[in-house]
């Protein structure tokens, strides 16, 4: 049985530097999960995923990740793995943490 759809953000890695990117509300790719668009509708999410999959020259491995509305901070990923992707590694202030 297919799993029930949960509200999701669309995420991938940037082709050139591998950084985590999210599909933003304006349809562009953003590095900040706070700016990610939260898909509440499954069909719309799948359509955007299919579109992202054809953007081979920009991003690698797009997929939908469950998230909840996070108020002012924007959508918050549900899974610990996605939380780590959104913030960067624990052991050093590297990756996304440095840019904030």
């Amino acid at each position: 049985m297919a799993r029930a759809f949960r509200p999701s953000i669309l995420t991938a890695n940037d082709l050139l530097d591998g950084d985590v990117v999210y599909l933003a509300r304006d349809g562009a790719w953003t590095r900040r999960s706070a700016e990610a668009r939260l898909f509440e509708d499954e069909d719309e999410a799948n359509r955007s995923l299919a579109a992202a999959e054809s953007q081979e020259d920009a991003v690698v491995g797009p997929y939908l990740a469950a998230a909840v509305p996070g108020g002012q901070l924007g959508p918050e990923p549900v899974h610990i793995r996605e939380a780590l992707r959104a913030t960067g590694p624990t052991n050093y202030c590297h990756g996304k943490q440095t840019g904030r």
Partner: protein
């Protein structure tokens, strides 16, 4: 030390030139990711959680100072100023940009290094005892064998698409420091009753999802038969190894499904044919390689400075206690540089630290450096008179942590802080345990204890062979850690036994402390190590310590 010949040099540079074009085509959009992925993996380039990761081979864990300096340069120029040494004698750079990778590979090729065979279903970087050529207990240096296997396996057309990856380790000593029993093929160099050199060949070991200790397939293989015999093993595996299920594709499954006797019979049958096809050139090659690994010219000098420092300086004494191992030349010592400062990331070295190590190797260590599967760095040949100077320089660089073999000398994979496959973080657990051990201040009193942490079932952190093994899993989106006890990666290899239900991240350190305290209560005397006590008393008291509530309930 092995030096590239014209063929090696040309091969490695040609490979980089090829990859440079492939990267350009990927960036321009004429290669899809599906097309590009196998090409980048063949060159050690992974895409991890936050960035690309480049895995560079350090064949048999041996480096010279110029190579270490080049790694430092790469870390600074194209990465974030550090590198991560892994449990397979590789170094990983965690933050390279795609377009820079060909330049990095060129910089590596300039110092006879590469990222070939660090990914994919081929024979991977061949690993060896990190004390090779130095240990006092060694029968023979395993590195010429490892180098011969490297040359034989690189781009071997028949073995480019094996059912699954294939890992070979070689030890030249009866003391197994290379975890040979947990490899697809483990080779132990031995001599037969009349003193001829050969190998005990183990097959079908491995950790991961289905951990197994390898079985002896040949108890004595004459040295000259090595390549035809290994080739026969790979041919049989290539033919009958499963390709229908990735989780059943490793040779350990092939061996266990067919049984070691039937597998051995197939290999021997193949070997009878295969041996005839080898004319002997490989033995001439082995001899040429062997000559390059000749021992350095030992310095003859008094060791009084060492003895004086030992008598005078308690900090030096404690460093000597844990970080020095006996050398084949009694005037020398093997010095292990711990990359496990309490609270630091296991296996990480900054560019500056790499340069310090390179400088020390050059000045005091016959220009040799080793990387261990335990994620430490080694100066294999230091004259004892120079050890005080080496120690002083290490202290200055923050590299003199005296904890080798102790509870804080933890193996940890990158875990979910970096790795795409991970189900939980490993590094923070290692950091917390080590920090706590420093607070307790009794790790020296505790003695030999190997804690190994993996962030997923694939077991890069070797948790199955840790005296205390910790496996991080994902339980409904939350990290959870299972503990195994009694694992052993040495010549007395054993797989750890799972103690019971897992622990939340915050409960791991207290759980480990309960294990340690139980051990301290139970050990027969200070010389009985954790593993020995565990083997004597079994799981029960440790289980009771881990799960006091359950134990109390059972007692009622």
């Amino acid at each position: 030390m092995y030096r590239y010949d014209g063929f090696d040099r040309e091969f490695v540079h040609a490979r980089v030139a090829q990859f440079r074009q492939q990267v350009e085509r990927r960036i321009k959009g004429s290669l899809t990711e599906e097309e590009f992925k196998p090409l980048r993996l063949m060159n050690g380039l992974y895409l991890q959680l936050h960035a690309y990761m480049l895995r560079v081979a350090i064949p048999y864990g041996t480096l010279q100072s110029r190579q270490m300096r080049q790694l430092a340069y790469i870390a600074e120029r194209w990465d974030k100023g550090y590198g991560h040494f892994t449990t397979r004698q590789n170094i990983q750079f965690n933050w390279p940009r795609l377009k820079d990778v060909p330049d990095i590979l060129d910089a590596l090729a300039d110092v006879e290094m590469h990222a070939i065979q660090t990914s994919g279903n081929c024979v991977r970087n061949v690993t060896a005892d990190h004390f090779a050529g130095a240990a006092d207990d060694e029968i023979a240096d395993p590195r010429p064998t490892a180098e011969l296997l490297r040359q034989w396996s690189t781009d071997h057309p028949e073995f480019a698409f094996l059912p699954r990856k294939f890992k070979i380790a070689v030890s030249g000593s009866p003391i197994d420091r290379a975890v040979t029993r947990a490899h697809d093929i483990g080779l132990r160099m031995i001599r037969n009753v009349v003193g001829e050199p050969g190998y005990e060949v183990c097959v079908g070991g491995g950790l991961g999802r289905t951990p197994m200790i390898g079985s002896v397939i040949r108890d004595f293989l004459p040295e000259a038969d090595l390549l035809p015999y290994i080739e026969s093993i790979l041919q049989v595996y290539n033919a009958i190894g499963r390709r229908d299920n990735i989780y059943k594709a490793r040779i350990k499954i092939t061996v266990s499904e067919h049984g070691i006797e039937a597998f051995r019979e197939s290999v021997e049958q193949r070997f009878r044919i295969q041996r005839e096809t080898f004319a002997g050139e490989h033995q001439a090659l082995l001899a040429r390689i062997g000559a390059m690994f000749a021992a350095p010219v030992w310095i003859e000098a008094p060791t009084g400075a060492f003895d004086a420092a030992l008598a005078r300086d308690p900090v030096f004494r404690s460093f000597v206690d844990t970080n020095l191992h006996p050398h084949r030349n009694p005037d020398y010592a093997i010095v292990t540089i711990s990359l496990k400062a309490h609270g630091a990331t296991p296996g990480d070295a900054t560019a500056e630290q790499m340069r310090v190590i390179a400088g020390l190797a050059e000045r005091y260590g016959h220009d040799e450096i080793r990387i261990s599967h335990e994620q430490n760095c080694i100066l294999p040949h230091v004259h004892k008179r120079d050890v005080p100077a080496v120690h002083a320089a290490l202290r200055e660089a923050g590299l003199a942590t005296a904890n080798v073999g102790l509870a804080s000398d933890i193996i940890a994979c990158p875990g979910m802080d970096y790795c795409n496959l991970a189900t939980a973080r490993s590094i923070p657990i290692a950091q917390d345990i080590a920090t706590r051990m420093k607070e307790r201040g009794d790790e020296r009193h505790i003695g030999d204890l190997k804690i190994k942490i993996s962030g997923c079932i694939n077991a890069c952190g070797h948790h199955h062979v840790g005296h205390i093994g910790i496996l991080g899993l994902d339980r409904a989106g939350v990290e959870n850690y299972q503990i195994t006890l009694g694992g052993d990666g040495t010549e007395t290899a054993a797989l750890g036994e799972r103690a019971g239900p897992g622990f939340a991240a915050d409960d791991v350190v207290p759980a480990v402390e309960r294990l340690i305290d139980t051990y301290l209560e139970l050990r027969s005397d200070d010389d009985e190590a954790f593993l020995a006590t565990y083997r004597r008393v079994g799981m029960r008291p440790f289980k009771a310590a881990l799960y006091p509530d359950t134990a109390a309930a059972a007692g009622r």
